[in-house]
Symmetry: C2
Subunit: 152 residues, 2 copies
Amino acid sequence: MARKQSALDPQRLDNQICFAVYSAAHAFNRVYKPLLDQLGLTYPQYLVMLVLWERDDVPLKDIGEKLFLDSGTLTPLLKRLEAAHLVKRTRSSEDERQVLIALTSQGHALKEKARAVPQSILAASDCSVSELVAMKDEIVALRDRLNAVIGE
Amino acid sequence: MARKQSALDPQRLDNQICFAVYSAAHAFNRVYKPLLDQLGLTYPQYLVMLVLWERDDVPLKDIGEKLFLDSGTLTPLLKRLEAAHLVKRTRSSEDERQVLIALTSQGHALKEKARAVPQSILAASDCSVSELVAMKDEIVALRDRLNAVIGE
DNA sequence: TCACATTTAATTGTTCGCAATTGAATAGGC
DNA sequence: GCCTATTCAATTGCGAACAATTAAATGTGA
């Protein structure tokens, strides 16, 4: 039974959860794009803004830990957000190694304009909130198990 | 009840399924990295090889449709695979617009070396196969709904 | 046949994402 | 205090990812 075998073949593209996650991430990105264009943000920039809207004046390192990104990604990204007058970067006076990221008034104001984004995404998902929450929790749990393996 | 409110706030990072998917994709990538380094492949290159191991001598366009990638991504990627002697790119004689991608003998041979990869990923997932299959199917269904919205 | 639209890859420019390195600031042991 | 290790951000280089454009081949309708 060739069909049954291919349905179990772990080397088949369609059987790989990783490709499912990878392609879903790209699909989300394409849905977000037109929404975020109106805000003048890319998706990773939007993630940084979400972090800052929750807590302002945060070290770069903390943003990196929340988003699983390092300074090689964040430094140029934050410079672009600064060039767009959404954040300010200042060295901490207590610890000169740290760079603190603070919202500007424009950065604060953008939160209101961004309020409609999650609703649009929910609509595009065509799925109940409870289903999405359940999926999200499963995916987060899987991600955390994977990250635990890396940390070894 | 501040806690309950934040647990429902759709503008909070932790409540966004998209971030769950995005960060899980990166976590997978980090688990794959050391495995694929041994094969001399990046993850997107590995995906292309998976497609070719299923069916050889495929137009670039077909690879793009399977992986949801366009020529802007695939053309340079395939040139790198060609430089690594894993594939050959030739113009179709029936339709000169198309570029056909064929495995070299080295490209074929790599399939055997790659056989251990899915098992390592499964182990890192620390999860039963049936659970992973169920999650995969849910994520694929979500992805397809998102892609349907984009196509409108 | 000829004009026009469509399809397909390639190219250009911008932004991520990360490994590896560098350099400055801080912490800890002596 | 002094030497060393650690921490943190920035930098460099490479490989995606994608929008927008270009160019060539093919298809289609008058």
